[in-house]
C-alpha cells in the first residue's frame, strides 16, 4: 500500500570488497550525528551516521560521554564501599548491579543469604524490570511519534518508584541489596499498594495495546524493519528480549535459575520475526509476565525471617583470592558481574557485563548499513540500549 523503492541511480559504486567506498569529497555522502542529544537516542551516546540520500551506509557508535571509570573506582573501595556505587552503572534498572555485586561478594566470602532476602531481591529485580520495560515501550512509542505512550508509562513507572521509595528508602538508586541480604523487610500494607500499582499498570497497558500494538502506522514502521538474523545471535552476543524476538528463548531466569526463580511459575514469551515489532511485542508480553511474577512473589514470599546476615567487620573485610561470575536476566538481557579478589580488602577487578555492550556496539554497527535514516531511532530504541553499561 505504502511501499516504494528508492531511486538508487545516485548511489556510489560498490567496491570489490562489497562495501561502499566512502569518500566525503565526492559530495555523495553526508555525515550526520544522531546524539548525544537527540530524541531518537537513549541516554548519553551517539551514532555517527554516514548517509547517502536517506539511506545510511555506515554507522559508528560513540560512547564515553558519561564515562566515570566505575570499574576502576571499585578497585579503590573496600568491599562494602563498592556497594553504594554499583547501582550508578545503570540508571533505569540499577538493581541488577546491586544484586550481582552482592551475590558475587557473598560467593567469594562464603556468606549465606537468608531465604527471605532472596525473595525480596527477586521482588526488587522484577520491580526494576517493570520500570525498565515501561521506559522501553514508552521510548519506542516516542521514537515512532507516539509520545503519549511514553507519558502514560512514565506515570506508571512513577507509581512503581513510589513503591521503591517505601520499600528501599530511595526512588532511583536504591542502595538496598547489601552483601549479606537486603536492608529491610516489606513495610506494612505494601502488598496492597503494590496491587494498586499493578492494576493501574494493566489499565494503561491495555490502552497502550490499543494505541501502539493495534496501530497501522506503528506496524508499518516496525514490521520487517531492523531485522536481526538469529544466526548472528551467538556471534554478536545477543541475549534477552532481542534474542527472544528471534525465536531463541534465552532467559537466565530459566536457563540458570537464580534467587527464587525456580519456585515461580512463568513462561518466557517468544516471538519469531526478529524485527522491531517482534522486539517491542516480546517486551510488552514479558512486562505482563513481570506483573504476574510480582504478584506471585508477594504471595509466595515467607512472611517472617531474617533479611540480613551479620557481616564480619566491613571496615577490615578481606576476601580470599578468587574469581566468580554472577549473572541475571535484566530487561535487556544477560547482566553479569565478574569479580576477581586477591585476598586484600579491595576488589582486584570488577567487570560489568551489560547487554548493551554487545547490542549497541558491534551489533548495531552491523545492522545500520542499509537502514533508512528515519528508522535508525526505532532500530536503536528497539535494541533497548542503556549506554552507561557500555562505558561504565
Amino acid at each position: 500500500m505504502f511501499s516504494f523503492q528508492p531511486d538508487r541511480s545516485q548511489y556510489p559504486d560498490i567496491g570489490p570488497d562489497g562495501k561502499f567506498e566512502i569518500d566525503l569529497e565526492t559530495g555523495k555522502f553526508l555525515k550526520l550525528w544522531q546524539g548525544p542529544n537527540h530524541p531518537g537516542i537513549t541516554g548519553n551516546m551517539s551514532v555517527e551516521l554516514t548517509v547517502n540520500g536517506d539511506e545510511v551506509v555506515e554507522g559508528k557508535t560513540h560512547v564515553g560521554y558519561l564515562h566515570r571509570g566505575f570499574e576502576k573506582l571499585m578497585e579503590r573501595r573496600t568491599f562494602i564501599q563498592v556497594f553504594p556505587i554499583v547501582c550508578r552503572v545503570c540508571v533505569p534498572e540499577p538493581d541488577f548491579n546491586e544484586y550481582c555485586y552482592a551475590a558475587a561478594v557473598e560467593e567469594l566470602a562464603g556468606i549465606e543469604t537468608p531465604e527471605k532476602a532472596k525473595w525480596i531481591r527477586a521482588l526488587i529485580l522484577e520491580m526494576g524490570r517493570f520500570n525498565s520495560y515501561m521506559m522501553s515501550i514508552g521510548g519506542i512509542g516516542g521514537a515512532l511519534g507516539n509520545g503519549i505512550v511514553g507519558q502514560w508509562l512514565t506515570y506508571v513507572r512513577d507509581l512503581m518508584l513510589d513503591r521503591f521509595e517505601e520499600l528501599t528508602g530511595a526512588r532511583i538508586y536504591h542502595m538496598f541489596i547489601l552483601p549479606g541480604g537486603v536492608r529491610a523487610g516489606l513495610p506494612e500494607g505494601f502488598e496492597g499498594r503494590m496491587e494498586e500499582v499493578l492494576a493501574t499498570a494493566e489499565r494503561y497497558l491495555d490502552d497502550t495495546e490499543k494505541l501502539l500494538f493495534t496501530n497501522a502506522v506503528f506496524k508499518k514502521r516496525t514490521k520487517g524493519v531492523g531485522y536481526i538474523d538469529p544466526a548472528l545471535f551467538e556471534s554478536y552476543g545477543v541475549t534477552g528480549p532481542n534474542a527472544r524476538a528471534g525465536g531463541v528463548a534465552k532467559d537466565v531466569r530459566k536457563d540458570s535459575p537464580y534467587l527464587v526463580y525456580d519456585q515461580l511459575d512463568f513462561d518466557v514469551p517468544v516471538e519469531h520475526d526478529s524485527d522491531i515489532w517482534a522486539r517491542a511485542t516480546v517486551r510488552y508480553r514479558d512486562l505482563r509476565v513481570t506483573i504476574d511474577l510480582l504478584r506471585q512473589i508477594l504471595a509466595k514470599m515467607p512472611k517472617t525471617g531474617e533479611v540480613m546476615t551479620s557481616l564480619p567487620n566491613v571496615l577490615h573485610w578481606k576476601i580470599p583470592r578468587g574469581e566468580t561470575y554472577i549473572k541475571g536476566e535484566s530487561s535487556r538481557g544477560e547482566y553479569g558481574y565478574y569479580l576477581v579478589t586477591d585476598g586484600s580488602g579491595y576488589p582486584r577487578r570488577v567487570n560489568v557485563r551489560g547487554p548493551s555492550y554487545t547490542h549497541a556496539m558491534a551489533l548495531l554497527e552491523h545492522l545500520i548499513p542499509g537502514t533508512n535514516i528515519a528508522d535508525v531511532a526505532a532500530l536503536m530504541v528497539s535494541l533497548h540500549t542503556y549506554p552507561p553499561e557500555i562505558e561504565r
Binding site: I80, P187, L211, A216, P312, V314
Partner: protein
Amino acid sequence: MGSLRDVLSPFTAWKHVIETPVTLKNPIGREAADRYRGFHQNDTEKCIGCGSCETICQNAAIDMVPVDDPKEGDSGLRPQIDYGRCCWCALCVDVCMTGSLTMSNEYTWVDTDPDAFRFIPGVDEKPWDAIAKGYQRPGERMLSGLTRPEMMEMEPEARIDNFDEIVAGYSREQAVLEADRCVECGLCVATCPVHMDIPDYIAAIREGDYDLGTQILYETNPFSEVCGRVCTHKCETVCAAQYEGEPIAIRWLKRHIIDNVSEERRLEIVGTPQVLPTGRKVAIVGAGPAGLTTAYDLARQGHAVTVYEAQDHAGGMMRYGIPEYRLPYDALDRDIAVIRAQGVEIKTGVRIGSDITLAQLKADNDAVVLGIGLHMGRSTRVPGSDAPGVEAAIDLLRRITAGEEVPVPKKVAVIGGGNVAMDIARSMARLQKQKYGAVGVTVTALEDFAHFLADKEEVTESIEEGIEILDARGPQEMVTFKSGKRKGEVKGLRTWKVISIFDDQGRFAPQYDEADEIVHEAEMVVEAIGQMADVSLLGDELTEALQWNRGRIAVDADGHTSEPWLWAGGDSVHGPDVIHAVADGHKLAASVSAMLAAKAEVAK
C-alpha cells in the same frame, strides 16, 4: 497489511482527554516515604565521635570536627557532612557504633549558599532534627560483629582441685575474628593508663605480624604478658563496640600476641639498652609492676638500677596477691626476664628498713624510688576478729604462693566482695578440694550484687567452683568457742542482712536488718576487705619529714615526693591496679631520668 481495527483502535486514546491529570500540583513539600533516606540526624549525646561513619563513607563526605572537649570514651568530635558529596547510601548509619546517627525522611531544602549544605547534624539545628520518620538501622548493628568469640576455659570440675591456669587464650582463628571487630577508633588509648597503642597491636594481629605486635606492646608496657591476663582493662569500658554488643576483648588480644612469640624471640625483639652506661645509680624498693617498670625504663637509658625486694621472688602483688590459676608464675617470670635482660639487678629477700635502711640507699644512690604496694590487710575489728583462726586474705595469699603450709579447714568464711575476696575464696576452695574432695567456702559481702566490687567473671567462676557467695551481709562478730579444748578459737561468723549500704547520695551508710542474722559455721574466717601499705620502712624521721596526702605519700604529677632524692608510685600511692602501676613506673622513670640528666649537666 493493516486492518481497519489497526486504524481505528488508536483513537481510543482520546478518552484520556477527560481524565484528571495525574501530576502533583505542588511537588515541593511532598512528604517522602517513612523510610526515605533524607538529611542526617545525630543524637550528639549518644555519639562518641569514633569516626566509623567517616571511615566507611566511600565519597569522603564526612569530616570529624571538634564540637566539645574530649573526655573518656568520647573524642568530642562529631561528624560534619558535606551534602555536595553525600550519596545517601546510609552506610554511615549502618556502621554507627552507638546508633546515634540516623536519617530523617526530609529531602527538600533550598538554599542559595552552597556551603550551607555542609553542616554538623545534631549540632547545627535543622528543621528535620525532630522528625521521627526516616532511615534508622532496622535491627542490630550488622556491619561489625556484636559478640566476642567465647574464650576456652577449663571446666569447673577440671580446675577446682588445682592451680592450673583457667583461661586458655585465643586461638589464631578466634583472635582474628575478635581483632576484626575493632573499628580502630582509638578511643581506648586515652583511657588506658599507659596509653597503649591498642588499635595498632590489634591490627598487627589481623595481619598476623606478632613481632610487630610485640614491639608495639613493649613501647608502652613491659608487663604485657601479665596485663594480657589480669589487667583491669578500663580500655574495654570505653570501647565503641560495647554500645550494641560486647566490647572488644582487648586484654585477651594482648595476651594472644605474647602467646605467639617465644621467649627468645621476645628478647630479640625488645633487645637490650642501646646506650652507653651513664654511671648513675638508682635504687628501687619493691619489685612490683611500678618498681620494675621504672627499672626497665631507667636501665634502657643506661642507668645502673638495683631493685630491692623483701620477698623471695620478684613480682610483688602480681606474684603474691594474684593466684596462680589467674596468672601463672612462669608468665610473670617471662615478663621479668625481659626486664632483667636490660641489666636490672633484682635483690630478693632484702627488706628495706631492717636489712638495709632507706638512709643507706639514699647515701649510695642518685635516686631512690618507692614502689612498695599494699601488703597489709585491713581488719573489720568486729568482736572476735583477733581470735585464732581469723586470717587476713592478703597474708594468706602470700603464704600460699610462698609454698608455706596454711591451715585448710573444711569450712571457711570470707568477709569481702572484691577481687581479693574471690582470690582467697577460690584458692582456699582448691586447697579444700585437694584435701577433702569437697569445697566449703562462704563469701559474705557488704555490697549487694548490683554494687558488687569484684569482676563479674570472678563471681561467676567462683559460683561455678562451688563457692557460696552471700551478698549484702554485714559482719558483726567472729563467734568463738566459749569452752572446751578449742576455747577462744573461731567457730563461725555472725552477719546481719544489709538493707542498704549507701544513702541516697551514694555515701556509705550501712543499714542492717538485725532480725536477719546468720551464723556462718567456719573454722577459719578470712578478712578480705581493704589493704594498706606498710610504711614502717620509712622510719619516724622520714615519715615526719615527708608530705602526706590523705594517708598516702604526697607526690607531684611525676611521682616526686617532698624529699628531693625520693620518688614513690604504684599501689601505695595511687591504689591497687597493675596497669596503673606500670603507668606510674614510666612517669617515675621519666622524672628520675630528667633529674639525672640535669645532674649530669651540672657535673659538666
